[in-house]
């Protein structure tokens, strides 16, 4: 066996993370890797800190390598430990907890925020924005409300400002230059960005210079050089970054602005390499992820003995603030011999500018509509001659002849070397090869090629490639938006309704950029459900956003009549109820009476006009709606249990009735059916329900996520309960967790498959505080919804009748 090469890595960022990933995946037996990180954690997707700050994502969503990953790949982690020094002669690295020797050293110390040297810069309450700890500090500070001043109107500063405003702080951005993001945007786009941010309540001060941060013991205000003072409970410094080079300098490496490397990422010491934001190559520094990943690829190749060389490429910029759509690429400064093509649509807030030099596109700035950004970027990178399409160039690829209006044909027409994923530099050909090699869904394409695995903005393109390549074999996956009215997935929509505290449909449409007046038949029921599930007291269920069955509280049949199913608690009935049902069937000429699989009786063929009257008759006998029509609790099927059965171990019927009485009336993402069997013989068929309980001598086995429909699936064990009350608690907590988290129209088994049973158990079974919270939240909602909709419908019988009868009107 050959000796493993000892690699020491200083800094767990996105660039070094990619290097380690390449090494352990390509040559798992060749390297013995030790990873130092000053932060108390490993590699996560720093590009996504802004969504974490704004509440659209959580830290868990952006972890790239977790402890299990490092363990599985044998990487020795020394997290939370600062490196004290490098001894290049002895080839050792010394951390706070000891020294380790290396064969090759990788310095990936990233960058440090630039702190402007003004009085008060060290006061508590002044923070920078670089890592998760900064992000968490900002989230914590924002919870107290108050004012924040962000110094710096560049990419990072504006993302911080937007996130803090989202979290309810009053935010002012202080920017030294004349317009925002002056390195990426021209003045016109800067103006539109400023206007959009101001509309969100953010105050923008341009050409403003900070003189001091003042405060007694902690930051209280920012003093401008005009002597104006801006109140600030929190000051965020985001004026820029500089490569973190101290360790390299101390080690005697050549350092200019950054650690100097050659095209193989080698420093002035042949056994020391550097990668990421800390390096300087050919006079360039790097801050965006795409070139960092290029560097990572080159460095891993070099370490594995393969020839490769890093080259500097153009990069494109996007701002990750929801609702601010901007794109810039290339060089767009004014200059001799350069010509502009500008398109403005003030009504839509759209601005596009292309800069052309010698018949080549060299720069593009877009605001408001950036759909064609990647196409323009490709023209810039390829230095395509645009003379022939100049007239229509600014209208994008769809105006360039041919039928490219369909986005699929546009993707299909791209050449193999067209770049799809800018972050990771993945071309169409690589993705198509992966798909043809068996990567049949988005997750697998991400895992095998890394395409769309970083910032995710190219996810749509990757999906289109899957569709183009696989044709009908490909089903558009869950990353699809809810419908054509919006750009959001169900998951994002749910998260934003919670984090932005949107409590009405109008608020959702407005704040989340609905493209239609008031949604459509796909999104309206989903939004209605999410709102009532998250805000049971503030939001009222909207019948006009319900499918007919849930609005009419009966199931529509193919001939336009309805079916009526009264509730029979736990499948138990009595002669009086049966008589009332028989009388109703007679009185309303019900053509079909059927016993259902859920242990109750279905009256089929009732006319819509008769519904309130048949309900009133059934109500009089004590019968209420069985909700056989709703995305809510349907039935609790039981066996006779210990009352009658010689095998019964517990009172399964009694438990079923209790559960049904607790759960009835609740709305859920999809229907919910329960079964309670008195012994493992399972006569109530509990193990194919959404929730199934099997009674045993020692108590109750609660299992969940079964299915007996399009899919057939046995339930999986959630937990064992010693008492009936505990079985009830587990059931309620599970239902509430499902209500709070699942996508609308996902049955419980589909939802559990997505989030994992382990997570469900951790919330419902292991965490007793969370279980109690879930039960309390469910009860709060039930204080509104545990009521009989039939009794209410019977009171407004006229609304079920025709508005007018003109059959007797003389039609002239």
């Amino acid at each position: 066996m050959k000796q493993k090469q000892k690699i020491v890595v200083i800094g767990a960022g996105m660039a070094s993370g990619r290097v380690i990933e390449n090494l352990v995946e390509t040559a798992p037996d060749d390297f013995d890797i030790t990873l130092f990180n000053a932060e108390q954690r490993g590699n996560y997707n720093r590009i996504m800190l802004s969504p974490v700050l704004s509440g659209e994502k959580t830290y868990e969503d952006i972890v790239t390598h977790d402890d299990d990953w490092y363990a599985a790949h044998g990487v020795t982690c020394r997290f939370g430990e600062h490196v004290v020094g490098i001894d290049a002669a002895q080839k050792t690295v010394t951390g706070q907890n000891g020294t380790v020797s290396y064969d090759k050293l990788i310095i990936a110390t990233g960058s440090a925020p630039f702190i402007i040297p003004v009085p008060g810069k060290d006061l508590p309450g002044v923070i920078t924005y670089r890592d998760l700890d900064d992000t968490n500090a900002m989230i914590e500070a924002s919870q107290k409300g108050g004012s924040a001043v962000v110094i710096g109107g560049g990419l990072l500063g504006l993302e911080a400002a937007a996130g803090l405003a989202e979290r309810g702080m009053s935010v002012t951005v202080v920017h030294l230059m004349g317009h925002l993001m002056e390195r990426q945007l021209d003045e016109a786009a800067g103006y539109l960005l400023r206007r959009d941010l101001e509309r969100r309540g953010i105050t923008i001060r341009t050409q403003a210079s900070t003189k001091a941060i003042i405060g007694d013991g902690r930051a209280e205000a920012v003093l401008l050089d005009t002597d104006e003072s801006l109140p600030a409970d929190l000051v965020v410094m985001a004026v820029g970054i500089r490569p973190e080079t101290r360790l390299a300098t101390d080690a005697g490496l050549e350092v200019a602005r950054g650690i100097q490397v050659d095209a193989q990422m080698q420093t002035s010491d042949p056994d020391i390499f550097a990668v990421g934001e800390c390096v300087e190559f050919d006079g360039n520094l790097f801050g965006l992820v795409a070139p960092l990943y290029d560097q990572a690829k080159v460095l891993s190749q070099t370490l594995m003995g393969q020839a490769d060389a890093f080259v500097v490429k153009d990069t494109a910029t996007k701002l990750k603030v929801t609702g601010c759509d901007l794109f810039s690429a290339g060089d767009f400064a004014d200059g001799e011999g350069r010509e502009d093509i500008v398109l403005r649509d003030p009504a839509r807030g759209v601005y596009k500018r292309l800069v052309i030099e010698e018949d080549r596109l060299i720069g593009a700035v877009m605001y408001g509509d950036t759909a064609d950004g990647n196409w323009f970027f490709q023209l810039i990178k390829d230095a395509t001659d645009v003379e022939d399409m100049r007239e229509t160039l600014i209208f994008g690829p769809s105006a360039q002849g041919g039928d490219t209006v369909d986005p699929l044909s546009a993707v299909a027409a791209l050449p193999r070397d067209a770049e799809i994923c800018g972050c990771n530099g993945i071309c169409k050909g690589t993705i198509v090869d992966a798909i043809e090699g068996g990567a049949g869904d988005l997750g697998t394409v991400r895992a095998t090629t890394k395409a769309s695995a970083s910032c995710g903005t190219c996810t749509g393109l990757v999906e289109q490639l899957l569709q183009v390549t696989l044709g009908d074999d490909f089903q558009m996956p869950t990353a699809q938006p809810v419908c054509g009215c919006c750009e959001l997935t169900h998951e994002d929509l749910r998260r934003l309704i919670k984090s932005q505290e949107l409590k009405s449909q109008e608020a959702v449409w407005q704040e989340l950029g609905w493209k239609t007046r008031n949604g459509c038949h796909v999104c309206r029921p989903a939004v209605n459900y999410y709102l009532l599930a998250d805000w049971p007291l503030e939001y009222r269920d909207d019948p006009q956003s319900r499918f007919v069955n849930e609005r009419k509280h009966a199931n529509i049949q193919k001939d336009g009549t309805f079916s009526v199913v009264p509730r029979m608690w736990g499948g138990i009935t009595n002669p009086a109820e049966l008589r009332a049902i028989a009388d109703a069937a007679d009185k309303y000429n019900v053509p079909t009476v059927k016993v259902t699989g859920g242990q109750r009786i279905d009256l089929l063929g009732v006319k819509g006009e008769d519904l309130p009257f048949i309900w009133a008759d059934l109500n009089r006998a004590g019968l209420v709606s069985g909700h056989a029509y709703s995305k809510g609790l349907r039935t609790v099927k039981t066996c006779v249990g210990s009352d009658h059965c010689r095998f019964g171990t517990q009172d399964s019927t009694g438990l079923g009735i209790k559960l049904e009485q607790i759960l009835w009336g609740s709305w859920t993402p999809h229907k919910v059916k329960l079964g309670v069997s008195g012994c493992p013989r399972n006569c109530a068929e509990a193990t194919c329900k959404d929730i199934g309980i099997i009674c045993v001598d020692s108590g109750y086995q609660v299992s969940v996520a079964g299915a007996a429909g399009m899919d057939l699936k046995e339930t999986e064990p959630l937990g064992d309960a010693a008492s009936e009350q505990e079985a009830i608690d587990l059931t309620i907590a599970f239902v509430q967790l499902y209500r709070e988290n699942a996508k609308y129209l996902d049955r419980a088994y589909k939802w559990v498959a997505k989030v994992g049973l382990d997570w469900v158990k951790s919330q419902v079974v292991d965490d007793l505080n969370e279980r109690a919270r879930l039960i309390e939240a469910f009860e709060l909602s039930q204080s509104v919804y545990r009521r009989d909709p039939w009794a209410e419908g019977a009171k407004v019988a006229t609304s079920f009748q025709p508005l007018a009868d003109l059959t007797l009107e003389a039609a002239e």
Partner: protein, 109 residues
């Protein structure tokens, strides 16, 4: 014109609909905005679904049976070679007025 008063606009919930019986079949009145109503046949040409029971969005209705979507201005079904007859309707002083002449003519046609 022969305007027939068929009811108050408040009798129809916002983004809701009610049907009206006529000698030649049911007509649905859709309330798409606070003061905006449309009238069209209640019968979906696909499988006869009751359009007044559909979800109303923008100036369209989705049939409750198989999700055909109709533009209430033209009666045209989205993506299908089919349409429903539409009828002149007005709101005056909170009352919904339907044109009986048009109704008779078109229904008979």
């Amino acid at each position: 014109m022969n305007w027939i008063d068929v009811g108050a606009i408040e009798d129809i919930p916002l983004r809701g609909a009610r049907k009206i019986k006529t000698a030649l079949g049911c007509v649905a009145i859709f309330r798409t905005g606070l003061q905006e109503v449309f009238a069209a046949s209640n019968l979906c040409p696909h499988k006869g679904g009751p359009l007044s029971e559909g979800i109303i969005h923008g100036q369209s209705v989705t049939c409750p049976l198989h999700n055909w979507v109709f533009d209430l201005n033209s009666g045209q079904a989205q993506g299908e070679d089919a349409s429903i007859p539409t009828f002149p309707v007005e709101v005056r002083d909170g009352r919904i007025l339907l044109d009986g002449t048009e109704l008779a003519k078109r229904s008979a046609a």
